[in-house]
């Protein structure tokens, strides 16, 4: 791993738990609320992940 997580953490973002929480709150809000139906969001997510070769 290029940047080690902190002790007890799983990723580099665990070095900044408050910032990571802010990101996750936004991410979760966009997934669970809003005007778009879930399948539309998921389709966009998959297309985006393919473009940047993201395995998530």
């Amino acid at each position: 791993m290029r940047i080690e997580p902190p002790a007890g953490g799983q990723s580099v973002f665990d070095h900044q738990p408050d910032l990571f929480a802010s990101f996750n709150t936004l991410y979760g809000t966009l997934w669970t609320l809003g005007a778009l139906e879930q399948p539309v969001k998921e389709t966009a997510r998959i297309r985006n992940a393919r473009l940047v070769d993201c395995g998530l």
């Binding site: 290029r2 940047i3 080690e4 902190p6 580099v12 973002f13 665990d14 070095h15 900044q16 408050d18 910032l19 990571f20 802010s22 990101f23 709150t25 936004l26 809000t29 966009l30 609320l33 809003g34 005007a35 940047v52 070769d53």
Partner: protein, 139 residues
């Protein structure tokens, strides 16, 4: 990139040339987006470094450049802006050498901040590029 209003092709106002607070149109997430952006700017990476990253990203995505900063970039600022550029162009293209160079200047918590900041700036620049009203005379 900021959440400033900009002229958009979205049919949301009487005058399409008037700037619109596009992010306020979000039915959900605006408050969380503003909080995340504030958190990025208020974290542990200095403002000048973040501004250089933001400006590099804006130039790449929108094709417009801000006036150059008066001061020459430090080695750390140059490494951060180069990382931002690689993130925009091809995130898998970040090399071990590039990542090691970053770690010469930034701590792991700062790198977590820097990566989050670059991701947010990249996303906002792309939103603006897609939703902005085309300039007169542009292709």
């Amino acid at each position: 990139m900021t959440l400033d209003a900009f002229a958009t092709w979205l049919p949301v106002g009487p005058d399409p040339a008037e700037p619109v607070d596009v992010f306020a149109l979000l039915p959900a997430g605006e408050e969380q987006l503003r909080h995340l952006l504030r958190s990025v700017w208020n974290a542990d990476v200095d403002r000048a470094t973040l501004e250089r990253c933001r400006d590099r990203i804006d130039a790449l995505i929108t094709g417009t450049a801000r006036p150059p900063a008066r001061d020459r970039p430090t080695t750390a600022q140059r490494a951060a802006a180069d990382f931002a550029e690689q993130f925009v162009l091809d995130p898998h293209g970040c090399t071990d050498e590039q990542m090691h160079a970053l770690q010469d200047h930034f701590t792991p918590p700062q790198l977590a901040t820097l990566t989050t900041a670059i991701a947010v700036f990249d996303a906002l620049a792309r939103v603006r590029a897609v939703l902005a009203r085309p300039q007169e005379g542009s292709a």
